[in-house]
Symmetry: C3
């Protein structure tokens, strides 16, 4: 069976539209999005802001989850990188994780495997 | 070691109770639930609604995550399908993803592997 | 290539700071955090609370996601267990799931694999 991958990307919230546009260019339009918080490389320092301690290195991120067939993996990674990086290339542009995906089932049609993606 | 799987399902929010009931029938009662947004098959079109552009193909979904031992995989998939599809079989009933799961650790008891599930 | 793992932990919200401190002790400071709801082992019972039916076994949890290189896996699991368990060892301290991770890409630098973690 064609290998499939589960792609997880953590990106800056303001880059979501750009990432979606890049993905649509390669016909990847099915994705799941959720809000998460990311702790960056800073070792963690607390700042007192108006006498209220808050965790200064907590960064709001958007998590994107996409199932792809193998031949779409590289184009998907490139599309996410292009959209997420933007022109500024700021620190904290995010990361992409590639996990093995054994099966996909489309609930309405009972299709399974690569066709279900 | 008995193989284990990490099952991720994206379903319509109104089907969560039905999915839970189906899972309880097969004694699967430990699951994690979170709110996500899904972009469907529509290639993405924007609608102007009261002069406010919004992304018409952003669908609220519920993400379910369940760890199962191999022999529970098929019954779990069937239970999710039965509960998520409902009688109407609408477009957007959702998808199920099956990922390999190497280990599970129950924090309180230090149990690991299939017993920890 | 050095094997990498995708670690998912579901813990009690009040234990997050303790888990972060334990992880920082072993120099693991990049993690993603999100709010989820967990259904525990109770088979599911409904309680009427002021004439409002609610799902008594829905527990607020924090989901932690961390990518680690193999040699960091055991220390990361131990750190999460120490932080999440606390002194009381209550029921519902949570679980840790270990999934295989094929690749990691750091968007800003294009680094891939173990260096990107």
């Amino acid at each position: 069976m064609v290998a499939m991958k589960y792609v997880i990307a953590m990106i800056r919230p303001e880059r979501l539209d750009a990432v979606k546009r890049e993905l649509q260019k390669i016909e990847v339009s099915r994705l799941t999005v959720s809000s998460v918080s990311g702790y960056g490389a800073q070792k963690g320092y607390m700042e007192i802001y108006r006498a209220m301690e808050y965790d200064a290195n907590l960064l709001e991120k958007i998590k994107i989850e996409i199932a792809v067939n193998d031949e779409f993996l590289e184009p998907t990674i490139e599309a996410i990188k292009t959209g997420a990086k933007g022109s500024d290339g700021y620190v904290g542009s995010g990361k992409i994780f590639v996990l093995p995906l054994e099966n996909v089932i489309r609930i309405r049609t009972n299709e399974t495997g690569p066709e279900a993606i």
